[in-house]
Amino acid sequence: MIKVTRLNKKEFVLNAELIKFVEETPDTIITLTTQEKVVVRESVDEVVTRAIEYKRMTHNTL
């Protein structure tokens, strides 16, 4: 679950497990495993960072 922002500045939460590609076009377009594409304002690196953060948080409950 990562927080990202649409182009219209609305924030929403995206299920990071569904991410297939994150591409810079130059807008960041995230392609999901459902073939849906979502355009977000965050950069590719930012999206990757947040996804890793999320993973770290969920795995640290050990």
Binding site: R6, L7, T25, P26, I29, V38, V39
Partner: protein, 257 residues
């Protein structure tokens, strides 16, 4: 200006007049009350058959039969590919600026939806609904002309019957039988001409215009969806060229150079 409509109407009327007048003078074929029965009756029947709001729409749509569509599909595709390039270079938000200069409200709406971050399926859904509604409005014009074309010959027949009633009433005067019969048939003539030279062909033309519009708007929808998905401009070009006939496809891109 769509010359085909004008040329067709003038040449058709001209040929008919020439053929008719080669044997008789214009007076034989001209009868004002007959015009009144045919046109007045056809319009009256059409008014009865349509709700009043539709009639207002019709008047504005009728002009379409005489004007040509400004957008050629090739220009449209070049424009869309240009936008794809802008989006790839400066991001989708840059399209908001570019969209402001456009004439076509449908295209502007599509780009606005993309800039607002709607996903492609939603854009397609909204644009398709808009497309259907626009076409429904345009179809009203065609319906009106088709209705006029349907009723004109019928009122021609009514005029003929009126003439025959008058004729039979005056059978005691044999000299009048011929001319009265002629006048009676003139209304059928007017009805047939009005229907087949004017009303029905215009209805057909409006129908074709609707088809053209649907085609062009589909190109726009596909283009906007492709841009929104971040497709490479060459891919957008390929996707849109499919809409064109093979010989037109080569024209895309050449004009942009």
């Amino acid at each position: 200006m769509d010359f085909a409509t004008l040329v067709g109407l003038i040449s058709g009327a001209g040929l008919l007049l020439w053929a008719a007048l080669s044997k008789e003078s214009i007076g034989t074929f001209f009868d004002v009350p007959s015009i009144a029965i045919v046109l007045g009756g056809a319009f009256a029947a059409t008014l009865v058959s349509l709700p009043i709001q539709k009639v207002k729409i019709a008047i504005s749509v009728v002009k379409k039969a005489f004007t040509t569509k400004a957008d050629s599909p090739v220009d449209l595709i070049n424009t869309l590919v240009g936008f794809a390039e802008v989006a790839r270079r400066d991001g989708i938000l840059a399209l908001e600026e570019a969209a402001k200069d456009l004439d076509d409200p449908f295209l502007v709406k599509g780009l606005q939806l993309a800039v607002d971050g709607a996903d492609p399926e939603l854009i397609a859904e909204i644009m398709n609904t808009e497309l259907e509604n626009q076409l429904d409005r345009h179809l009203v014009g065609k319906t009106i002309f088709a209705t006029l074309g349907k009723y004109a010959p019928a009122f021609g027949m009514i005029g003929t019957l009126v003439g025959l009633v008058i004729l039979l009433k005056n059978l005691d005067d044999p000299d009048k039988i011929g001319p009265s019969m002629a006048i009676a048939l003139i209304t059928t003539l007017y009805g047939a001409i009005a229907s087949n030279l004017v009303f029905l062909p215009i209805a057909d033309k409006l129908g074709l215009r609707s088809k053209e519009e649907r085609f062009v708007k589909n190109i726009i929808i596909q283009g906007v969806m492709a841009i929104q998905s971040g497709d490479n401009p060459r891919i957008v070009e390929q996707k849109l060229k499919i809409f064109l006939a093979p010989d037109s496809r080569e024209l895309v891109g050449k004009e942009a150079e």
